[in-house]
């Protein structure tokens, strides 16, 4: 990751182009065009984990942005004029690529940044899939994918190498399978990794999807997890309870949350967030990657209806054998947080396991009350005990 950021930060010197792209955006064509993808949301996670979120969010608020706006967006927007954050700001983009399969906020956020840097913006509009992906919506997205390639060819002033694109697509699918295999190791007891580990290892599947680097990394990681399984090494010292996490991490409190659950003999063995980067794997076609991108990028977890999301959660409860569900009602993320109460009810009805909803924010620590959340976790843990 360090090498990646050095490449990105020195792109202006090496003559490479940089594209800012949303976290679940179609990165593979960028890789195929030798454009360095940079993720403002990843930057947001670093800002959150570095506990720099409050300062940057306050700067954005001083610029006029509402405190209720997504904290990734606020932190990123505030970084641009100040070169703030743990790496002194992101490298200047040559273009922006925005896919609204994760939320609508990114549309305005990227428009603001496109205006600030005076660079072209491409939007891939992926209609939300309440029940089924209609043929009209599929056609709509496929046309846009074709437009996306034209956009990149125009920005880069070169034609796309279709063979290279096919290879990148193949690598991307392989990586998603590897990532799923890594996550699946947590079905073992003791679980060799927890969701908190997954939050860390996620970086490459987001950032370097479609590259050999990510393949090599996840191959090694999978091997290590298998060794841990063989050696009976668990992620937490005493593993009595297995839990599922829903929504983005609370980046500035991951250690505290990890320690709090571990000290109560609980391991969060899986989460709906990190698994989202392989959630539409079944729709990706290695033999025709570009065409399958319409389905693959529209049918990710966050762009689905509540019933389908609940089905996914229940599938994970069964697959990972969890005894409780912890839901982070994230002040910043409407698509993730709206509908959680419905999912909670569906889970309680169909699986009858205890659920906990904690209210917080992924980057803005002003929305986290440690004492209140600890009390709620204690009450939840008591519910788990027979």
């Amino acid at each position: 990751m360090t090498a990646y950021y050095i490449d990105a930060k020195t792109a202006a010197d090496t003559g490479k182009k940089v594209a800012w792209i949303t976290s679940s955006g179609p990165v593979e064509p960028l890789i195929a065009m030798d454009v360095i993808p940079v993720y403002p949301e990843n930057h947001g996670t670093m800002i959150g984990a570095s506990k720099m979120g409050v300062d940057l969010c306050e700067k954005a608020e001083a610029m006029g942005y509402s405190r209720d706006m997504c904290s990734y967006a606020r932190a990123d927007i505030a970084c641009s004029p100040t070169n703030g954050g743990p790496i002194g700001g992101l490298p200047r983009p040559d273009m922006l690529v925005c896919c609204n399969n994760i939320c609508g906020t990114v549309l305005k956020w990227y428009e603001i940044q496109a205006r600030y840097y005076d660079v072209p913006l491409f939007i891939l509009d992926t209609p939300v899939i309440h029940t089924t992906f209609s043929e009209a919506a599929r056609t709509y997205v496929r046309h846009q994918v074709a437009d996306y390639i034209v956009f990149l060819e125009t920005c880069c002033q070169k034609k796309m190498d279709r063979d290279r694109m096919a290879e990148v697509g193949r690598l991307s699918i392989q990586e998603q399978k590897l990532w799923q295999s890594v996550l699946d190791t947590a079905v073992n007891r003791p679980a060799p990794m927890s969701a908190f580990d997954a939050f860390f290892h996620l970086a490459l599947i987001v950032t370097l999807r479609g590259t050999q680097t990510a393949i090599d990394y996840y191959t090694l990681l999978l091997q290590e997890m298998r060794e841990r399984i063989d050696a009976g090494i668990g992620a937490v010292p005493v593993e009595r309870w297995h839990l599922l996490w829903d929504n983005l991490p609370v980046w500035y409190k991951t250690k505290w949350l990890s320690d709090t659950f571990a000290s109560r003999e609980a391991c969060l063995v899986a989460d709906t967030y990190t698994s989202a980067w392989c959630s539409s794997l079944q729709y990706m076609d290695e033999t025709d990657f570009l065409t399958s991108m319409a389905d693959g990028y529209s049918r990710i977890y966050l762009n689905l209806g509540v019933d389908q999301m609940a089905d996914t959660v229940i599938g994970m409860i069964d697959h990972y054998g969890v005894q409780g569900l912890v839901m982070h009602s994230n002040r910043s993320c409407k698509p993730y947080s709206l509908g959680q109460y419905d999912i909670q009810k569906i889970v309680q009805k169909k699986r009858g396991i205890p659920t906990l909803i904690i209210e917080a924010d992924m980057v803005d620590a002003r929305n986290f009350s440690e004492a209140q959340i600890e009390t709620r976790i204690d009450a939840f843990m008591e519910m788990l005990t027979p």
């Binding site: 610029m63 006029g64 942005y65 509402s66 209720d68 706006m69 997504c70 609204n100 939320c103 609508g104 906020t105 549309l107 305005k108 956020w109 990227y110 428009e111 603001i112 205006r115 913006l121 939007i123 509009d125 209609p127 939300v128 309440h130 209609s134 009209a136 919506a137 056609t139 709509y140 046309h143 846009q144 437009d147 209806g305 509540v306 019933d307 009602s329 002040r331 409407k334 698509p335 947080s337 709206l338 509908g339 959680q340 109460y341 419905d342 209210e359």
Partner: protein, 425 residues
């Protein structure tokens, strides 16, 4: 209320105690906000009557229509084409979403940081106090903002007749094609509901009916360009709000009648505010009945509102549907073209909206613009900053307000708006 409608409300399953409480608050607010205004046009008596019977006589009319075999379709958004609904022999009504109700119940279903409009729509359902919702044979949701997209998933668990329409978030030929396919799907759904096939004749008549409604509102809007303003912003907003509830033909007649009266007022320079009173354009989120807080504060601070760049206002009504089509297909294309021009903040980029605000500010001789954003409404709140910047570059003073439906910030709003109005003098 001129009659006792309790039996009717009971038959709709309303919570009578809750509904009484709602009407009590509504009646009091209406008295304080509307009836206390001085020198109102006589034609406003019609709208006063409509509001006094908004849960009474109008509901009885709708139920009578249902008895006669007509279907009622409820919607929350200006992207639902009334032309298609009317052409299939159904009636379109706006659904209640302008006041806080049963919030403690709502927050068991939706996060606290959901916008007041969405929470309100849930509150009216959970509190069983919206007779329009309970009368509707179909409720149409539309995929506009993130909040609504997900909230309709939850609403779908509370009602059994929800239909969700997809909308593109980008304006392009491909986006228009998606919208067209959605409107054709909606047309089929409405035809299936009513059992009435839309014909060229029925669709043409429906287009004309809705266009007449819009044209009447255009006439009213044009009269507000006069100084002194012949009608208050509150009363003009009320007409725009009633647009969503009333019988279309009767609404058109009533607006035209008041326009006749306003023309005389303009000729006589008879205004509701003194000449040269600071003139305000409101821009931003929609204001559904009974969301009158901000206009009330503005107009009791010495300024007059001369236009609304809003879905409940000119954004929702400004464009007409072309009447030149001969076939259903041609007319459906005209409908798609008309609605695809609506410059809602869900679209990115959205330069038409900014241009329209500038045009309105010039056309209505506005001295300043107040951008109204509902708390937690990301699309409008995020657009408000470029709007403010662009307007101030043109030396148009702009004030951004972020609020909700509660009365807790009335004092704060009053202070900010009085200071803004003072700046305009």
């Amino acid at each position: 209320m001129s009659e006792d409608y309790r039996e009717m409300w009971q038959s709709l399953g309303l919570d009578l105690a809750g509904h009484d409480a709602l009407l009590g608050v509504l009646g009091g607010a209406y008295q304080d906000i509307f009836l206390s205004q001085k020198n109102r046009p006589a034609g406003m008596a019609y709208f006063d009557f409509v509001m006094s019977e908004v849960h009474g006589l109008r509901i009885r009319e709708l139920l009578d229509e249902k008895k006669a075999g007509r279907k009622i379709i409820g919607s929350y958004c200006v992207f639902v084409p009334e032309e298609i609904v009317l052409a299939a022999n159904a009636t379109l009504v706006g659904l209640c979403s302008g006041a806080d109700f049963a919030m403690s119940e709502v927050e068991k279903l939706l996060p606290r940081n959901t916008c007041a409009l969405i929470k309100s729509s849930f509150g009216f359902k959970l509190g069983k106090v919206c007779p329009y919702l309970e009368s509707a044979d179909m409720i149409v949701g539309e995929n506009t903002c993130d909040g609504k997209k997900k909230a309709y998933e939850s609403l779908g668990h509370l009602v059994d007749n929800l239909y969700v329409m997809d909308l593109p978030q980008v304006k392009s030929d491909h986006g228009r094609a998606l919208l067209k396919s959605e409107y054709l799907r909606f047309k089929t759904e409405v035809e299936n509901l009513t059992g009435v096939a839309i014909t060229p004749e029925s669709l043409r008549e429906a287009i004309q009916t809705v266009n007449k409604k819009r044209a009447a509102i255009h006439r009213l809007s044009a009269l507000r360009k006069a100084d002194p303003a012949p009608i208050s912003g509150l009363d003009a907003l009320l007409a725009n709000q009633v647009f969503f509830y009333d019988n279309p033909a009767r609404f058109t007649d009533s607006v035209n009648k008041i326009c006749d009266e306003l023309e005389t007022r303009v000729a006589e320079k008879n205004g509701v505010f003194p000449a040269k009173a600071p003139r305000i354009l409101i821009s931003g989120c929609p204001m559904a009945v009974p969301n009158w807080k901000l206009p009330f504060v503005i107009e009791t601070s010495g300024a007059v509102i001369v236009g609304e760049e809003s879905c409940v206002g000119e954004r929702g009504t400004r464009n007409l549907t072309a009447e030149s089509g001969n076939s259903v297909s041609e007319m459906m294309d005209a409908i798609v073209d008309r609605y695809y021009q609506v410059d809602c903040a869900i679209f990115t980029p959205n330069p038409d909206r900014l241009n329209h605000i500038r045009e309105m500010a010039a056309a209505y001789h506005a001295d300043g613009v107040i951008h109204y954003g509902l708390q937690f409404c990301q699309p409008y709140l995020m657009e408000s900053i470029p709007v403010e910047k662009a307007l101030e570059e043109k030396n148009i003073p702009t004030l951004r307000i972020e609020t909700d439906y509660s009365m807790e910030d009335m004092g704060q709003l009053k202070t900010r708006i009085e200071a803004f109005v003072e700046q305009l003098r």
